[in-house]
Amino acid sequence: MQISSRLRIATLAAATTALIGTALLGAQAQAQDTYRIGYAISKTGPGAPGANTSTIPNYEMWVKEVNDAGGLKVGDKMIPIEVVEYDDRSSSEEAVRAIERLINQDKVDFILSPWGTGLNLAVAPILDRAGYAHLAGTAVSDKAPQLSKRWKNSYWLLGTGSQYANELATFLDQLKSDGKINNKVAMIAVADGFGIELSNAGRKALEKHDFELVYDKTYPLGSQDLATIVNEIKSLGADTFVAFSYPPGTLGLTEQARVLNFNPKIFYAGVGTAFPLYKDRFGADAEGVVSLGGASETDPKIADYIKRHIAFAGREPDRWASIVNWASLQSLQQAIERAGSTDRDAINAELAKGGFDTILGSYKPGDQNFWQVGQWQDGKFVGIAPTSMDGAQALIFPKPDWKGAQ
Amino acid sequence: MSAEILLSVSGLHKAFGGLIAVNQMQFDVHKGEILGLLGPNGSGKTTVMNLISGALPPNEGKVVLAGRDITSLPAHTISHAGIARTFQLVRILPDLDCIENIEAGLAFRPGPLWGDAAKLAARALLDRIGLADHAHTPAGDLTYIDQKRLELGRALALQPKLLLLDEWLAGLNPSELQEGIALVRKLKSEGLTIIMVEHVMDAIRSLCDRCVVMNTGTKIADGTPETVLADPEVIRAYLGDAHA
């Protein structure tokens, strides 16, 4: 009796193993006539909306465009891209496992980055150990410079939180010294790694420029009901409102500001403002809202990219991480072409050299040559700072009145 | 009746919200006697049992067991002090077998038994309550009467000084009742002190040395079964004319 039941369990186990074996091994062991690109990304879970906005459409569109053109040019051959994709379900542990699988089971040639600071940091050491380059497209970390030293083939494309805050503070300082705004700033941040990093940097930078922070608080991640915050801020007399928030909060804050008719001269909110969703939601009321990111829509390359993105994904790209991500994919493509082989070390060496021709102009992954501050102007999210950059638009000032809520 | 007092209850009071369940209860139990606790439904008998056994803390009053004040102590401490009980609706451990049910009583008493010693003692006890054949039967599969026996066995395993039986004889048919009465009588003869809440008059008459009768939370009579059951107040409130 005992033996037979053990046998049964053993059979069950054997069957399971066989099933898993086929599942695990099915995809591998093919001849090198394709370039295998893998990625694990948050298709589900809390990271999914972000990944779906700024990363997944770009990956898919890039692969399609490359393959439609016959593939990657390697030497004199055209090699199509083959994709292995996984859902990391927004979990660090899943991401780590998926990357291990891409490396060891699928033996992919290149791995594209997951979405978000946490997951990019979780997979960075593994990619580094296995010698894969890491184009971290959606991570903002003040440790970015140290990280690129620690893992030498890693590129932290969105840079540090401080740079956005400093650029914003410098920009506001100019307005203040022009006498356009008073020195009072109300700042709110989402209690999350990103929001806290930016608000810390923002606090430092604003105080350096003699701004007075009349409101400086955080709200919990997941809270969308921010009516009381906006109501309180409204009474404080600040000309500048700064929110380092995530899309649901950004939309919530904007809506409450509109309902309460809180219309500061500078209304800065984001992440999320540069998303197409924002324009769809608020229409004409988006006009004049300031956020991080931006695009030189007059630049034909950018305009063409936006057009193709709409055609491919059925919606506009966001005007911040999408653009940087696309530039990094263009860089990768050119690095492979320049290396003339699919050898990983050769490609990594090319990536390190930089000088790629992208929608951000001549670009080396990690360059911060994109807009740090942008504004909705006439249905376009344009770049306004650094003011020294080509195509910097003049700020619409002060922010026009809300129309929707009256 | 000259024996020493084992349990002394005085000034016991318990209210649930606005409802006073037990009001100024006072009685003694002498060593080796069986005390019957009678009264209409809802008169507070089970509450008294719960107050004595520590299932509930009283609002006021005192419970003293063999000179030790056990008022408001937690149930497990009172159990260690020497009080064991059965429940109005029989409570066994249904997924455990009979041996384990008895072991539950042996393993956590003062001077606990565990391992082989517990097995031996449990088998002896099962023998004593007539369940020797059911050592490995899950308690949930026993018949009603056997569950009652098992529950009693578990209480006895605690080696109590005082045993509380809450309607332990209820729901038995007359022949089972005779067996039950015989078993309780045997326990008494072994020197155990017992308080029993019971409605079965035959059992009260044949077992109890003394009865306390309650009505609406207060004591209305205290004495031998004969005197108590003839008390007009008791007849009016509890027995009705049929038993007069």
Binding site: - | N41, G42, A170, G171, P174, L177, H243
Partner: protein
């Protein structure tokens, strides 16, 4: 009239009832006597549709076949059960409990009269109508349970050990009430441990042993049957 024909019930491999047949007429009280575990409760539950019956079993009420009906339809057909442990809705008030008794469509038209009848039968309930049922004493809860069953305007009332846990005075009140119910033309099928008092009010009785009927007779005859006296009335009972 309730007719049970060759009723069999089992739980897993254990047969609780084997080919039990019996009959209860309107206006009579029939008692079932048997040891614990003999299958008395299973019999009532099977009649009320709470446990599954074997294939060839049949239960009929005034010619209507109840065998395969769901419990709520059986109530609708005129058979009400007061279960062991009463089964009242403790969190609801006494009034709500009684009103629910008249949830059956058959009882809605006569709800007012039935309520008056129940209050008449158990006057104590009239002061307690708005009290949560679980705050009442055991005897009063039993009144609610019986009252609730009567509110469904049953032809036949089944009671499972109604006197369990009741004081002597409550018990005799209960049996008096059953006689009163009988007088209104309702048939009563009673399962009881208290053989002496239940036989005293019954018209007929059945003896059940190990899931099968082992005897039946008028209550008077059973009271004087030595075997019954020995097994159920207690030897040398007063």
């Amino acid at each position: 009239m309730l007719e049970v024909h060759k009723l069999s019930v089992s739980y897993g491999k254990h047969a609780a009832l084997r080919d039990v047949s019996l009959r209860v007429d309107r206006g009579e009280i029939v008692v079932i006597l048997g040891a614990n575990g003999a299958g008395k409760s299973s019999l009532l539950k099977a009649c009320a549709g709470l446990v599954a019956k074997h294939e060839n079993s049949a239960v009929a009420l005034s010619g209507k076949d109840l065998t395969d009906l769901a419990a709520h339809r059986i109530v609708e057909a005129g058979l009400a059960l007061v279960p062991e442990g009463r089964g009242i809705f403790g969190d609801l008030t006494v009034r709500e409990n009684l009103e629910l008794g008249a949830f059956a469509k058959r009882a809605r038209a006569s709800e007012k009269e039935n309520l008056a009848r129940v209050i008449d039968l158990f006057p104590k309930l009239s002061e307690r109508l708005d009290q949560a049922a679980r705050t009442m004493s055991g005897g009063e809860q039993q009144m609610v349970a019986i009252g609730r069953a009567l509110m469904s305007n049953p032809d036949i009332l089944l009671l499972d050990e109604p006197s369990l846990g009741l004081s002597p005075i409550m018990t005799s009140d209960l049996f008096k009430a059953l006689t009163a119910i009988q007088k209104t033309g309702v048939g009563v099928l009673l399962v009881e441990q208290n053989a002496r008092q239940s036989l005293a009010i019954s018209d007929r009785g059945y003896l059940i042993e190990n899931g099968a009927i082992t005897g039946q007779d008028t209550a008077l005859a059973l009271q004087s049957d030595p075997a019954v006296q020995k097994a159920f009335l207690g030897l040398g009972a007063a």
